[in-house]
């Protein structure tokens, strides 16, 4: 999320660090996921990039999580095979 906001704002890690009064290495560790920022720090950095991050509670889609987890275990080749199988099935259903 931090990397996405920074790149969309067209900033380097150093520039974002300067804007938020933090070392570049701190920004880098957050972006790499080596260390997780607090919510306050995350919002601070996102705001410094010119964006907002509305925090709202939504129902967690457990079924989607399970599907994504299952997809992750497939090879990229199998993922594409599955897409093509779905397209073929759609064509059959449509009488194509």
């Amino acid at each position: 999320m931090i990397r996405e906001a920074r790149l969309r704002a067209g900033l380097t890690q150093t520039e974002l660090g300067e804007r938020t009064g933090r070392e570049r290495s701190v920004i880098a560790r957050w972006e790499q996921g080596a260390v997780s920022p607090s919510i306050d720090n995350l919002l601070d950095v996102v705001h410094a990039c010119g964006f907002d991050l509305p925090l709202v509670l939504v129902t967690r889609d457990v079924a989607q999580d399970e599907r994504l987890e299952a997809n992750r275990k497939l090879s990229p080749e199998r993922r594409v095979d599955r897409l093509l199988a779905r397209l073929r099935a759609e064509e059959r259903d449509n009488g194509g």
Partner: protein, 183 residues
């Protein structure tokens, strides 16, 4: 010349408009680009599927390197693929989201969208940093945009309809990060 496709001022006259939809064969399409040593990064719905989301698409979006030599190779590859402007291309261009001209082409193996600079990115040189080579079979290993960059491109479009896709990509990124920490 097809390379003119990537220039905003390119005239469209003289280019045929496809009137039928061929069946989608992404492997054959990408293989043709590779045969001509075209340098590109796969983005869009097909890239998201390769990375692990569940979507249905009948086309491939690419961000080519806009170096002159590469555009010449792309030109040759598009000729081999019998590329022509896809029907309804104007609407699709508006939908693709790019700060430069997008060309939607019908080819022998399905739709190919050429996006020089997707919104929210700096184009090929920006995306290649985090792109990875993904094995798709038959020795094909195209460069595919990272989950983070795919999310960045979608969120830059600021379309509510894309929120479920962005959410899925973010979840994938979290799963990847968890796996990285577990290693």
């Amino acid at each position: 010349m097809w390379i003119d496709c990537l220039r905003d001022s390119a005239p469209k006259s003289g280019i045929t408009v496809a009137d039928s939809q061929p069946s989608f064969d992404p492997i054959a399409l990408l293989a043709a680009l590779d045969r001509h040593r075209v340098t590109y990064i796969v983005i869009g719905a097909f890239a998201r599927v390769v990375q692990g989301t569940e979507e249905v698409t009948r086309g491939i979006d690419i961000v080519p390197s806009t170096r002159e030599e590469n555009l010449r190779r792309l030109d040759t590859a598009l000729g081999e693929l019998h590329a022509s402007y896809a029907e309804g291309a104007e609407e699709a261009v508006a939908d693709a989201g790019s700060s430069q001209a997008v060309r939607v082409l019908a080819t022998d193996f399905g739709e190919l969208k050429v996006v020089p600079r997707p919104v929210g990115t700096g184009g090929y040189d920006d995306l290649r940093r985090a792109a990875t080579r993904e094995p798709l079979g038959q020795g094909l290993r195209p460069s595919v945009a990272s989950v983070g960059d795919l999310s960045r491109m979608l969120s830059a479009l600021e379309r509510e309809a894309d929120l479920p896709k962005i959410k899925a990509l973010r979840r994938l990124a979290e799963l990847e990060m968890t796996r990285g920490i577990e290693r």
